[in-house]
């Protein structure tokens, strides 16, 4: 009985290779394409980034400024930004609204009184904290451009520019309010001079449009950007990120895991691995399921039951009563000596049945019972069935 040919159905290494090489090739192609794409897109940073050459980047303005001797540096943490603040520095904050309350306070403290310039691009809720006396108006500007209409030299030189976005309300008297849109300025310069360090100011601009690569050559955008950002020899570009550790500080931020002894954590990790092993153990199937063609399962009496339900649903008492009466008549006929062919004629059946039952009162009701009208309700139908049974018993009794 020993067979020599292998009966194994498990794939050999060769089969596995043949079967999976297509998929493997696809995976390799995907990885190579991904690496190539990442390499070509390496210098594509986010919007308003001075390293980004895309339409929303700000590399153009940074390059022009470098040509004029202004060095651009990018920082992403508050600590670096605060360190960079000084009289020779312009600090640009691209998304001030990303800063937490602690961060705005720290940034304000670091930049006030240094004599440097702080440029805030489109701040909204964070405006009062960063630029005292200025607050954002809830309704934005509709016009794309606005004229300078103020005494700020940079604005006057530039002429109209695309600064319109958020509009500001200004409370301090010594602020320059430029580029108004329906009465409210979209560019505000607030001096932050202190007696020791003159010349410091904070500039709030309602929209980043005038800075981006795509729009720099429109209107007076370029002039405004160069004048605003090129007033100091050093330009620090602060791009706030959520990953900045200074965003979350304080004891209340400490999680549950920080409070647990490290042994528990490592033991839990090991238990997790054990659970994974157990899952692999239980998940291993002991051979596949076996399929089988199943036979049809239809009860032969199903149509009869279905017809009974239909009778009931339609309250077909006439048909039901007729079926019961016919059945009884067919059973009574041979008992009383009436040919089956004449079982349904009252003239033949009734006298024969009456002869078999002694009670004349019952015999009088035979016509109604065997050939009468259909019962009026279900209760009458039930009682008709019982009376038919009783009649049959009576007749079949010897």
């Amino acid at each position: 009985m020993t067979t020599t040919a292998s009966t194994s159905t498990s794939p050999t290494a060769r089969h596995l290779w043949i079967r999976s090489r297509g998929v493997l090739l696809g995976v390799v192609a995907l990885v190579v394409a991904g690496i190539a794409l990442a390499a070509t897109r390496a210098n594509d940073h986010g919007p308003l980034d001075p390293r980004s050459p895309g339409p929303n980047g700000a590399r153009a303005v940074a390059e022009i400024l470098r040509g004029r001797g202004v060095e651009t540096r990018v920082v992403t943490t508050l600590a670096e930004a605060a360190l960079a603040a000084g009289p020779d520095t312009t600090l640009v904050v691209t998304v001030p609204d990303l800063l937490t309350e602690t961060q705005t306070t720290a940034l304000r403290a670091a930049t006030t009184g240094t004599g440097g310039r702080l440029v805030l691009i489109a701040p909204d809720v964070s405006t009062p904290a960063l630029a005292p006396g200025v607050s954002a108006d809830p309704t934005p500007a509709f016009a794309e451009t606005a004229g300078p209409s103020c005494a700020l030299p940079a604005a006057e030189r530039a002429g109209s520019a695309e600064t319109t976005g958020i509009r500001y309300r200004v409370a301090s008297d010594d602020a320059d309010s430029c580029y108004p849109d329906e009465g409210l300025p979209t560019l505000v310069r607030v001096p932050t001079e202190t007696p020791g360090n003159p010349g410091g100011d904070t500039v709030v601009v309602g929209a980043p449009t005038f800075l981006v690569n795509d729009r720099l050559d429109e209107h007076g955008n370029a002039s405004l950007a160069l004048n605003l950002l090129g007033s100091r020899p050093e330009l620090v570009w602060y791009i706030p990120t959520l990953a900045d550790a200074s965003a979350t500080t304080g004891d209340e931020q400490q999680g549950l895991f920080d409070l647990m002894p490290s042994g528990w954590l490592w033991a839990a990790l090991q238990l997790f691995l054990a659970a994974a092993v157990a899952a692999l153990w239980r998940g291993r199937r002991f051979g596949p399921l076996v399929a089988e063609r199943l036979p049809v399962v239809v009860r032969a009496s199903e149509t009869t039951e279905g017809r009974a339900r239909l009778y009931h649903a339609a309250k077909a008492r006439d048909r039901a009563a007729e079926a019961l009466r016919t059945a009884t008549r067919l059973r009574l006929a041979p008992l009383t000596g009436v040919p089956a062919a004449r079982a349904h004629s009252p003239e033949a059946l009734l006298p024969a049945v009456a002869a078999h039952i002694g009670d004349p009162a019952q015999a009088a009701g035979l016509q109604e019972l065997l050939f009468g009208p259909p019962p009026g309700d279900d209760a009458a139908l039930v009682s008709l069935a019982d009376r038919l049974d009783a009649l049959e018993r009576e007749v079949s009794r010897p």
């Binding site: 009985m1 020993t2 067979t3 292998s6 009966t7 194994s8 159905t9 498990s10 002894p261 490290s262 042994g263 528990w264 490592w266 033991a267 839990a268 990790l269 090991q270 238990l271 691995l273 054990a274 659970a275 092993v277 157990a278 692999l280 153990w281 291993r284 002991f286 051979g287 596949p288 076996v290 399929a291 089988e292 036979p295 049809v296 399962v297 239809v298 009860r299 032969a300 009496s301 199903e302 149509t303 009869t304 039951e305 017809r307 009974a308 339900r309 009778y311 009931h312 048909r319 039901a320 009563a321 079926a323 019961l324 016919t326 059945a327 067919l330 279900d378 139908l381 039930v382 069935a385």
Partner: protein, 436 residues
Amino acid sequence: MGFTGRAALLAAIGSLPVGLLEPGWTGVLAVNGTLAAACACDFALAAPVRRLRLSRSGDTSVRLGDTAEVTLTVTNATRRPLRGLLRDAWAPSSWPAGTEADASRHVLEVPAGERRRVTTRLRPTRRGDRTPDRVTIRSYGPLGLWTRQGSHHVPWGVRVLPPFHSRKHLPSKLARLRELDGRTSLLTRGEGTEFDSLREYVPGDDTRSIDWRATARQQTVAVRTWRPERDRHVHLVLDTGRTSAGRVGDAPRLDSSMDAALLLAALASKAGDRVGFLAYDRRVRARVQGHTADDLLASLVAVMANLEPELVETDARSLATAALAAAPRRALIVLLTALDRAAVEQGLLPVLGRLTQQHTLLVASVADPHVAEMAKGRGTPEAVYDAASAAQAQQERHHVAEQLRRHGVTVVDATPDDLAPALADAYLALKAAGRL
């Protein structure tokens, strides 16, 4: 390839040293590295499933309800001992529901270079051919941490034959047959009876059968005895169309009809008649013809094993043609079908003339005891409507049977348990009357 429960347990226990002694990557690596090394060891030492040799032997046929034993021989040609589990997978109907897991799995230990046998006991729950799916073997390493798993396809086939429950009726029917068989003189003379022999008159014999010429030669009164005709043709035609699929009790109508057909075939072949069999719906599903009495039953159950009801309307016209082609000479054609009003009125009645012209026709049908039960329902409106519907169904059936009888057809309509003996009785009655 896979972990075992022991590996998972060890990994869980490993959380103690990791937590207490060496919390950190070092501890995790130490514990899991050890475990991984042990698993790799186990993998290397477990017998490879692929290189096992498997073969089968054992039963190839079994009656429905009996147990078949199929033996698998596992030869371990490797140099590593095999410790593991074996699952011999068959179709689910090879075992009663719920017992498959126990019946199909075996613990297996085969030392290196030896062979062992494991026996799978099948108790099929349906007729038909059963083929094994695949044999899956899980081979454990000596440490019990890692398993290798693989499957083998080892072909075999077990044919599950119809149970022939009605064979318990065979002795009594054979006794009845012997009664007819000229050994008693109670037989009334019919046109199809043959002269058998002369014997002495005993009171009670039909005086019409006294042979006066022989009596004159002898001192005693001699009577002629008759025996039923022999070497007649009986053709069983089984309708496998949609009406045979309906379940009556636990089994489809087809199974009850088969049972009755088997009893009749056994009886008729014992009575010296030639039996043919045809299963038909829109085409021939099975055919048995020209077999001797000895191997008739075996070939009948073999072809019946794989018959299943087909969900098509039986083509009565071509069925009649096929039956006539199978029975060229005068024969008793036994049609096992359902007395379904529509099927009979539109299918069978138009072709009845062709069948009864030359042959004797017997129609046997499985009645549903559930309908009879429903007809007795009383007391609630639901029950009475059921009873009315059942009465209607019975009348229709009755009407159909009457129509057939009017055409000279013998009709046997009985519940599954009674059909086989009733059909046998009808056959014996026809034989006694010499109408074959």
